[in-house]
Amino acid sequence: MTAISPTDRAAVRATSIVAAEARARARLRRRHALVIGLRLAILIVSLALWELGAYYNIIDPFFFSSPSGIWEQIWSWVTEGTSQGPLWLQIYVTLEETFLGFAIGAVGGIAAGIILGRNKLLADVFSIYIKIANSVPRVVLGSVFIIALGLGMASKVALAVVMVFFVVFANAFQGVREADRAMIANAQILGASPYQITRTVIIPSAMSWILASLHVSFGFALVGAVVGEFLGAKQGMGLLISTAQGAFNANGVFAAMIILAVMALVVEFLITRFENYVVKWRPAPFNEQGT
């Protein structure tokens, strides 16, 4: 038996900790690779089944299209343009309407939510009207806007605005109401004026509510713009879908759908980046800590 001096033991412990850490990291990497691999496998298998099904006429490609058909459609739109002009122009028009509607609706919703959240009387008076307005099926307003504002961009933007406004408003209002009373009292006693309280306490504490609603409502803005185009337009992805529908072109409908989904995902990614930047003070969710 040999005696181990304390320094030896410390060194042994240090190396074993390093080894354990390396093992844990390798395990995490393997798991990550497994998840990605499984996701890809599911995608490939389902696309293959769809394609084969269409090829052997188990799934009728006339109604349900096929991956290769969709791809051909997208490729021809990209290279030759659509019946209503180049593809990028359609995407641009729809995105412009969506962003404008989203921005106006979000800013309006946030402002209204904060004003009503901070003023009990206004909230009590207006809450009933907001409930009524909110219960109108919003898509129906699209027809109203087309009649009133014409086939141009304004009617689509207006529809996107109403789609976004109520969601953001409801969240901003709730966020303002949930602002911590002790925190508000603290700011008051530290010397904050009502305006300073709104700016430095109310808005930051409502921020996570507002950001959550922005995620959802961008999708709503896109729906508003596309439905608006669907109901009557000269440009845009919605018109592309409605033209394809009119020609019983399932490939076209699916291709436009996929382009819209990609647009939504890209913007969703950007909003998440923005959110992480704005609320960097928030503790990491428990399962992300220590990795």
């Binding site: 002790a182 603290n186 530290l190 010397g191 504490s205 003070w281 503790p283």
Partner: protein, 284 residues
């Protein structure tokens, strides 16, 4: 008359003198509950805190301790009676007041230094100067290395230190504290109590410190107010003549301290029992 020799002198209540730092004179406060009833939170309440005095308020839960503090800040108005701070009736939130809350009232989206600088910035101090002072105060509470941290990255004790710095940076003449250390573990609490007495002896503010911990009250205070179970009113007032400076870790083994705490506990016990039995009845 044995009480005097034990350094816990029971005081008789008189109308507050005009120059007191805080004077609550025969105040009753009723809340209108959401179902339209009136609920008396405190009644016939009289309390005086002289300039530079450290007063503690003890009483069972729900007896109106926080309500009392809110009367002094002006966040609540008395139904009858009047409240004066530094000789003036309370009409708005006074700039002389500092308040340390029981719960965390730090701004979680601001770093430590931004939290501490909040008071001066709200009050219109130029930015550079506000941050200089904030840095100073953060160093004084021993958090110099944590200026850029966010509250969620600090321990409970460290967050309380930030809260103290945030309050003390405004150099309040009146310091109100609502069970500030009740969520801390024993060692941290003792350290914070020492820290508080240090800061207080420098700043010479008048303090009202609310707690439900009698030993904490006796250890810190010049004067202890015992409240009755709700609706709260002052049951008795004791002057604590333990010498200063006091060391929190040792004082609880001091013979005189133990005797005083016993005397006051005899007074408080029945109120606590009353408060508890009522709490059980009403389900609070």
């Amino acid at each position: 008359m044995q009480l005097q020799t034990m350094a816990a002198e029971k005081l008789s209540q008189a109308a507050p003198p005009a120059d007191a730092a805080i004077a609550i004179d025969d105040v009753t406060l009723r809340f209108v509950t959401p179902d339209g009833h009136m609920m008396t939170a405190i009644r016939d309440f009289t309390m005086t805190v002289a300039r530079g005095e450290f007063a503690c308020v003890v009483g069972p839960t729900g007896c109106g301790k926080s309500t009392t503090l809110n009367l002094v800040t002006g966040l609540l108005r008395p139904t009858t009676g009047n409240v004066r701070v530094m000789g003036n009736p309370v009409t708005e939130i006074s700039r002389d007041i500092g308040f340390v809350f029981q719960a965390d009232a730090l701004f979680p989206w601001r770093s430590v230094i931004d939290n501490v600088a909040a008071g001066p910035l709200y009050r219109g101090t130029p930015k550079a100067q506000a941050y200089d002072r904030a840095r100073d105060w953060i160093a004084r509470v021993g958090l110099a290395r944590f200026e850029k941290h966010y509250p969620h990255q600090l321990s409970g004790g460290m967050r309380k230190r930030v809260a103290l710095a945030q309050t003390f940076i405004n150099q309040p003449k009146i310091l109100l504290m609502d069970e500030p250390f009740s969520a801390l573990d024993m060692q941290t609490r003792t350290a914070m109590q020492d820290e508080l007495l240090d800061l207080w002896s420098e700043l010479k503010s008048s303090v009202v410190f609310v707690t439900h911990d009698l030993e904490e009250a006796v250890a810190l205070a010049d004067k202890v107010y015992v409240l009755t179970a709700g609706p709260g009113t002052v049951k008795s007032v004791y002057r604590i003549d333990l010498p200063r400076p006091r060391v929190m870790a040792d004082i609880r083994y001091d013979q005189k301290f133990i005797e005083i705490a016993k005397v006051i506990w005899n007074d408080l016990r029945e109120e606590v029992q009353l408060g508890q039995s009522r709490g059980l009845q009403t389900g609070h």
